[in-house]
């Protein structure tokens, strides 16, 4: 694992350059001329002359590698260009919407813990009981229900039928409950199953058997030995889910009109606001990379078997 981490760190610069290149090169996929789009957004008639001038202004007339290098130079100085629509610096726009998405993700994490821990742990301890069966059904449906549909189901029951919670927008704490639950459900189902199988694995391990043979109380065995070992893979996997939750908020934010990055990016896509899309991709990738690296490091630091493994 340590070697793996070392390799990861060595490979990181290459990945960073690659990730930046992919984010940059995405515009090459556009079927139309970005200069023309730029002019149309500015409500200027895209005559041939105007398009030519804009191409020069946006640097699109230069060879690809030069465009990439100058884009990269900008990125290093946190300059991602300006939005075609608002004409404001792109990064500022994204950072403006980001806290809302972060709040949603954080709340979703809380839901994930609240749902998956009790269901996964008690499902394993009372294997094949009614509780276990129900929690497995929840795990399966949770993973398979499209979250945009789940969102509407929740709105229907909790906002419309029961009139308990607001339907959309952001504001009070009550506003966060439904969107974050919707966002959490898919990941929570994965963890119910992961935790359950991880618990079952550890319940059958030699050290558990040995502890039982020594007559140690079952509660103590489960708390001190089984749970501790079962949680390790789950906690690290949970870290990696943060990136996916941030990404998954795209759909949930659109269902609940949550004013976060996800809703902003879909708008940008419809407006063909290319600098925004480029910046968003790179931003998410860097965030994702950073979180995963952090998780790997924590994993190494937390597990003494790995931490001390190479010191022989």
């Amino acid at each position: 694992m340590k070697e793996y981490l070392f390799q990861r760190l060595i490979g990181l610069p290459l990945v960073l350059v690659g990730v930046s290149f992919v984010s940059f090169a995405l515009v090459q996929l556009v079927p139309v001329d970005p200069a023309e789009v730029y002019l149309r957004q500015a409500q200027v008639l895209p005559t041939e002359e105007a398009i030519e001038l804009t191409r020069i202004e946006l640097g699109l007339d230069r060879p690809l590698y030069q465009q990439f290098l100058s884009w990269l130079q900008g990125v290093i100085r946190f300059d991602f260009g300006r939005s075609f629509i608002s004409r404001k610096p792109v990064l500022d726009e994204i950072l403006y919407y980001f806290p809302a998405t972060l709040q949603l993700t954080a709340a979703a994490l809380v839901w994930i813990l609240l749902i998956s821990f009790p269901l996964g742990i008690f499902g394993a301890l009372y294997r094949e009981s009614l509780f276990d069966r129900i929690s497995r059904i929840i795990a399966y449906t949770g993973a398979s229900i499209p979250n945009f549909w789940l969102g509407f189901l929740l709105i229907y029951f909790f906002s419309y039928k029961l009139d308990l919670l607001p339907t959309m927008g952001r504001g009070s704490t009550a506003h966060v409950i439904l969107p974050s639950l919707t966002l959490a459900m898919g990941t929570a189902s994965v963890y119910i199953r992961l935790l359950r199988s991880s618990m079952l694995d550890n319940l059958e391990k030699d050290f558990t058997l040995y502890a039982r043979a020594r007559g140690i109380k079952e509660k103590w065995i489960i708390g001190r030995h089984v749970l501790k070992n079962a949680l390790l893979p789950v906690i690290t996997a949970l870290g990696m889910s943060i990136g996916n939750l941030l990404a998954g908020s795209i759909i949930v934010e659109n269902v609940f009109s949550w004013p976060g990055v996800g809703r902003y990016i879909v708008e940008a896509i419809f407006n063909r606001d290319y600098p925004v899309i480029q910046c968003y991709v790179l931003f998410m990738a860097l965030l994702f990379l950073g979180i995963n690296l952090l998780v790997d490091i924590t994993y190494v630091a937390m597990d003494p078997r790995i931490r001390l493994g190479n010191k022989k």
Binding site: V19, P31, P146, F148, W149, F270, Y274, A285
Partner: protein, 279 residues
């Protein structure tokens, strides 16, 4: 291929797998026989009959344009299932080629594909797909390309791992020593031995694809109206959510049941193959 046959009888003994197989069969049958089963043309607009409740003529009622919901669901299963199967086939075959090449040949080929894979794996999956579709424009073909670009690295890596462990196994080594050509080894020794695992990947991939394709259609970036597709139907009925919540119920149920079935089937296969953890 003997292990596949063997697992089929085992599969039939598992209740969840059996149920999901039946559901998948019904959905596929419905998709294939849609022209025979559908009571109406799924795209025929009749505003005078908009938003009808379920009745004998229209088993599941009509949508905001007076189109028959039941017929649209049937034809929608053609698009949803067809598109996701297509995504799965492209995804798996490309990853299979890359994974086998990288795993078996090793060396610089392996290095190039895996470093390239690192770059693509650095993006959250949904983000990459969304942005590629966003750049190329909506439509089935673009979704297909985007999903393959966003997913190949993941599957190629898993398949590479399978091949890698087989490459050093005794029977492959024996074949290599006796001078069997690489192509023959790949076709007759490696491929049959990873087939059941690849089948599991493929099954789970279909469920994933159904979810994502309908999600993109829901956002307006996927399959475009008036084509009947489950995600499109959900998007269409969104504005009538308060007055006619039933309109949203049916397409959602279809998506969920299809995805549940594929996931259950994939998991059952996984159990039979004796695999643990997340594949």
């Amino acid at each position: 291929m003997t292990d596949l046959k063997f697992s089929f009888t085992e599969l039939m003994q598992r209740k969840p797998a059996l149920v999901s197989l039946v559901i998948i069969l019904i959905l596929v049958l419905g998709a294939v026989c849609a022209p025979l089963l559908a009571p109406h043309d799924p795209e025929y607009v009749e505003l005078g009959r908009a938003l009808l409740r379920p009745q004998t003529d229209y088993p599941l009622g009509t949508d905001h344009l007076g189109r028959c919901v039941f017929s649209r669901l049937l034809y929608g299963s053609r698009v949803s299932l067809g598109a996701s199967s297509l995504v799965m086939i492209c995804n798996i075959s490309i990853s299979l080629v890359i994974g086998i090449l990288a795993g078996y040949k090793g060396g610089w080929i392996d290095e190039i594909f895996m470093r390239l894979g690192d770059i693509f794996l650095a993006f959250p999956n949904l983000v990459l797909t969304l942005v590629i579709v966003g750049m190329m424009g909506p439509g089935l073909q673009n979704i297909l390309i985007a999903m393959v670009i966003a997913q190949w690295a993941w599957y190629a890596r898993i398949i590479r791992g399978m091949v890698l462990s087989l490459r050093e196994s005794n029977f492959v080594l024996a074949a290599r020593v006796s001078g069997v050509p690489s192509f023959h080894i790949l076709l007759h020794h490696i491929l049959p031995n990873i087939s059941s695992q690849v089948l599991i990947l493929a099954t789970l991939n279909v469920g994933w694809a159904i979810l994502h394709i309908s999600g993109f259609s829901f956002l307006g970036l996927g399959i475009q109206p008036p084509t009947p597709e489950w995600g499109v139907m959900l998007k269409d009925s969104r504005s009538y959510f308060w007055s006619d919540p039933l309109l949203m119920l049916f397409p959602g149920l279809m998506i969920s049941s299809a995805v549940v079935s594929f996931n259950l089937l994939g998991d059952a296969l996984k159990e039979i193959a004796g695999m643990k953890g997340n594949l």
